[in-house]
């Protein structure tokens, strides 16, 4: 093993050198020339929600210009629109009591706004100008570039857990369009220019890559405009404006290859911190349109639903042993929406990692937690769910899906994302799909997609050398149970503890990297 990676191997290890170069195929000319697609949802009340989803996320960054997608999106919101200066746009939105939220994912960029319906004339005018005649103010570009650089150099590192997750993501997708942070790369974002942004907008913001979503009183039951509602003309104008975007042909570079992972490897991030956090997993071919998606969603709801207390990992590590704050497992890169525990809409990918997130433990307990979580996953794949667990999860999930969209804006977000990505709308289709599952289908899907023998681990810790020693395959790391009572001898938990403490991971590769060398 090496104490530090060379700059070249570092780039390779983190997937920061070069991008996946899939060959985009042409799309039909008639599709490129068709008006922008509309997703409409009728909603009563004084508010209208608008979402514009564009297939122009960070996976669409040109090679060598990583970060351009995010920079371009922010320039649309903050760089002025039409004859409005950036300050005039700020003041207008301030007056309206709202803002345009910009969310950049790997595949999509989404622009979202909620407004009083009475304000639609001015808002649709602003949005039309924003996309047709962006201001692209030079001073704003300089500020946004500096912010992106700070995010890469400092922001991610100020959260141990975000650091671990981002490093794992970049590691799993080395040489792939998903292999760099949405913000870009250190050393690259500083070189991006207004001309680069202009070119990106001209070639990626097209009729064929844009979806307009609207929820409000101006939408009829079929998703069209209601002729008897005056604001429908404003929305129709916005649609016309978006449909005047270029009809140039751009086929998004859908990744065609799932990166392979062979064996088990460990990357330890050495960082000034008092605690230790663990992430591990491997890429899969799963996405929300995959036939196995409902089955895998149910299975991982049982293994470790995000920030819920019922998962196996949570129960065994936090519940039974008080090791940390929580332990979760995922079949897609999970982006939490604000303080809520819900998935942010507009962040889906066409390929996704399976991964496990152990929230920070003490450094002393980390090796035990790492081994234990590995055993839980192994057992989960080997044995699958039992019949009672399956029935409970099926009942839970079929009702729970509706809570993913507990306000009209989020409901619209799910629907618009589905259209933009070509997936079924999960809120509309998942409950029935989950109800139709069988235990055998679920357990078979888990075995098909999850391969615990081949996983990459990322550990962020303040004691890298010590951790590397502790997780060596010939070292036993029992749990001290400081503060709580160890299980009595002969109990199932005591036997499990002994197993976890001594289980060799079987490392094929172990490396250490300094945190200050990340994201460059």
């Amino acid at each position: 093993m090496s104490r530090n990676l060379s700059s070249l191997s570092l780039l390779c290890a983190l997937g920061l050198a070069g991008c996946w170069a899939g060959k985009p195929g042409p799309i039909p000319v008639d599709k490129a020339r068709a008006p922008v697609r509309i997703v409409g949802r009728p909603v009563q009340g004084p508010v209208t929600w608008i979402t514009v989803a564009v297939r122009a996320g960070s996976a669409h960054d040109p090679v060598g210009q990583e970060g351009l997608s995010a920079l371009s999106a922010r320039m649309l919101r903050e760089g002025g629109a039409g004859d409005r200066t950036p300050e005039a746009v700020d003041e207008l939105l301030y007056r309206l009591g709202t803002d345009i939220d910009v969310v950049v994912g790997k595949e999509l960029v989404t622009f979202r706004i909620a407004v009083l319906t009475e304000d639609l004339p001015v808002v649709t005018s602003l949005l039309s100008d924003m996309f047709q005649a962006p201001g692209l103010d030079d001073d704003t570009l300089v500020r946004l570039r500096e912010e992106a650089r700070d995010a890469l150099d400092k922001g991610i590192l100020q959260d141990d857990e975000a650091t671990g997750l981002e490093v794992l993501d970049n590691l799993l997708y080395a040489g792939h369009p998903y292999g760099h942070s949405v913000q870009g790369r250190g050393g690259v974002v500083d070189t991006l220019t207004t001309a680069d942004v202009q070119r990106f907008l001209e070639t990626r913001y097209l009729r064929s890559t844009v979806v307009l979503g609207v929820a409000g009183v101006a939408v009829d039951a079929d998703g069209g405009w209601r002729a008897d509602v005056p604001s429908s003309t404003d929305l129709a104008s916005l649609h016309t404006a978006l449909s005047s975007l270029p009809d140039a042909i751009y086929d998004p570079p859908t990744p065609k290859r799932v990166p392979a992972v062979e064996g088990r490897s460990l990357l330890v991030v050495d960082k000034p911190t008092q605690v230790t956090g663990v992430h591990f997993g491997h890429p899969t071919e799963l996405h929300r349109g995959h036939p196995d998606w409902p089955a895998m969603l149910l299975a991982f709801t049982a293994l470790g639903e995000h920030r819920q207390g019922h998962g196996r990992l949570y129960g065994e590590l936090r519940g039974d042993r008080g090791l940390n704050y929580g332990d979760y497992a995922y079949i897609e890169r999970y982006e939490q929406a604000g303080w809520s525990s819900r998935q942010e809409t507009g962040t889906g990918r066409v390929q996704n990692p399976f991964y496990v997130w152990l929230r920070p433990t003490s450094q002393a307990d980390a090796p035990f937690a790492l081994r234990g979580a590995t055993r839980v996953v192994e057992h989960f794949v080997e044995e699958g769910l039992d019949a009672d667990e399956f029935e409970l999860m099926r009942t839970y999930l079929s009702g729970r899906v509706s809570l993913w969209a507990d306000d009209p804006g989020r409901r619209l977000g799910w629907a618009a994302e589905a259209v933009a990505m070509g997936w079924p709308d999960p809120i509309a289709t998942l409950p029935d799909a989950v109800e139709a599952l069988t235990l055998e289908e679920v357990n078979a899907a888990v075995k098909r997609h999850i391969h615990p023998e081949s996983m990459r681990y990322v550990v962020v810790t303040g004691g890298a050398d010590e951790l590397v020693e502790q997780v060596s395959d010939n070292v036993t790391t029992p749990l001290a149970y400081s503060g709580s009572t160890p299980p009595a001898e002969g109990t199932e938990q005591a036997a499990e503890d002994a197993d976890w403490a001594s289980t060799p991971i079987g490392w094929d590769d172990v490396r250490v990297i300094e945190s200050t060398d990340l994201f460059r």
Partner: protein
């Protein structure tokens, strides 16, 4: 994915204890809101008048056991939010050794009862497809569940059971203490949290606001042995007359209210030893200043300023004017924001928060500077902007005040978009012990704020050194050797995320 912060959205980076919809947000419903508080002879029920933003069929009832109940039928098809707002937060932690206990207790509330042990409860909630969590702040502990509305009756039965008859045992306390220690760990790399903690520790000597909601590490380390304290805490604070239950969503108040009386009506207050009086923070005797030197990795300098302000009193004219000051200081249209962030790029973001605490607290300004920027220079810019709130009589300044009042009204309507948002708005308003009267009082006071009012409160609370605390966080090369560290070090701040 990144959620891209505009200048205004930088607020989310530092908001540590705010609800989804702030109290002032809902308070700013506009002059149209008029709550008809016609109380019957037993003072049990209130009704909402026509013209209120609150749904017309909203029911507000105080049960015989003292529990205040609000049921709001709102247009959220098939969904309901059930929230129990306990009027206890870290601001009540006046007992040595028990800092962080309100938050710790929040965790213990998931351990079940004799009738429904924790694992049984968990499975039952899964069958009901419930999304459950909780959070603790300086002033409240809040338990919130969202679920398909068809399950609301069973949900009420389960919730009422734990508030009346929670099981507390030694092993449960010990294991949960480990989880809380884990929660402390997960924020230890955050300079924002360290700065937040440093500000309150510097500004307060004796009041519990001195420590963060998570508590000091020594007390967290001792939590495994605190079963007896947990039992006392439950009996002292988890009384029905110290709580508000809000049910918001696709429900009929007429149908749900009897079920609430049947379930939550059984919640009884328990005998408990007297809790020590909350110490009153003496008047500040001069400018306070401290500094955190950050050696945990690369960081931009940061600045936090807090001005001592009175406890929020619903309807109070000073409180209403103070609530407008943050937007006038640092919103997207504020001169300071445009100067420091947009034009000169000397700050990454700057944010200000209102003094809406139940006890005398702070009006806040926080900022992340750009690399190498001088914290003293930015501090001077902030103070100049505060002075300008008094000196600037221009039409532009008056227009900003008008725009801000109007913005708050619209923002409120836009924010009430889910059953959880409705529940949070009503629950947070009820924290001040005056029921939904607080809404009406605050709305009227806010609508009446003038430029003179703003100038009056700025002169009264913000211009003197004696009300101000300044805390900076800097990389080692920018350290000022003449400034001490915060009194108890940068403890971790509260996590608004809750128990999972």
């Amino acid at each position: 994915m990144i959620s891209l912060p505009t200048a205004r959205r930088a607020l989310s980076r530092v908001a540590v204890t705010s609800s989804a919809v702030s109290r002032w947000g809902l308070c700013a419903l506009g002059a149209g809101l008029s709550l008809g508080l016609a109380l019957p002879s037993k003072a049990l029920a209130e009704e909402v008048a026509a013209g209120s933003l609150l749904p017309r069929d909203t029911k507000v009832v105080k049960l015989d056991n003292g529990l205040q109940v609000v049921v709001l039928p709102v247009d959220t098809p098939g969904l309901v939010s059930v929230q129990t707002w306990m009027q206890v937060g870290s601001g009540e932690e006046a007992v040595a050794g028990l800092t962080g206990f309100a938050h710790f207790f929040e965790h213990l509330m998931f351990h079940g009862t004799e009738k429904m042990p924790g694992d049984v409860r968990e499975k039952e909630l899964l069958r009901l497809s419930v999304d459950e969590n909780a959070w603790t702040s300086q002033d409240a502990t809040v338990y919130h569940l969202t679920a398909p509305s068809k399950n609301v009756v069973r949900l009420l039965e389960i919730e009422a059971d734990r508030f009346d008859a929670l099981t507390l045992d030694d092993e449960g306390v010990r294991k949960e203490a480990g989880a809380v220690y884990g929660e402390l760990r997960k924020g230890q790399a955050s300079p924002g949290r360290a700065l937040w903690a440093g500000l309150w520790a510097t500004a307060f000597d004796v009041h519990p606001y001195h420590h963060t909601t998570l508590g000091i590490e020594a007390d967290i380390a001792a939590m495994p042995d605190q079963l007896d304290a947990a039992r006392i805490f439950f009996r002292t604070w988890y009384r029905p007359d110290n709580a508000t239950l809000v049910v918001a969503g696709d429900v009929s108040p007429v149908e749900v209210m009897p079920e609430i009386e049947r379930t939550f009506g059984k919640w009884t207050a328990k005998d408990a030893p007297a809790w020590p009086a909350i110490p009153v923070e003496p008047a500040q005797d001069g400018l306070r200043r401290s500094q955190i030197v950050w050696d945990q990795g690369p960081v931009n300098p940061r600045l936090a300023i807090g001005w001592r302000t009175p406890a929020h009193v619903p309807g109070d004219a000073d409180a209403a004017a103070l609530a407008l000051v943050p937007a006038l200081l640092t919103s997207d249209i504020a001169p300071l924001q445009r100067k420091l962030v947009d034009d000169e790029r000397r700050a990454r973001w700057i944010w200000s928060g209102p003094p809406d605490q139940r006890h005398p607290g702070l009006l806040l300004v926080m900022s992340e500077l750009t690399e190498g920027e001088d914290v003293r220079a930015i501090e001077a810019e902030v103070l100049a902007a505060v002075q300008a709130l008094v000196d600037d009589d221009s039409d532009e300044a008056k227009a900003r005040l008008d725009m801000t009042r109007d913005r708050l009204r619209r923002e409120t309507v836009l924010g009430l978009d889910s059953p959880g948002a409705w529940g949070s708005a009503v629950g947070s308003a009820a924290l001040y012990g005056k029921g939904i009267d607080a809404l009406d009082a605050d709305v009227q006071a806010l609508a009446a704020v003038t430029s003179d009012d703003v100038q009056r409160v700025v002169r009264k609370y913000l211009l003197s050194d004696a009300t101000r605390t300044v805390v900076t966080l800097v990389p080692p090369e920018q350290a000022d050797d003449s400034v001490a560290a915060p009194p108890t070090g940068p403890e971790q701040s509260a996590d608004a995320g809750g128990a999972q």
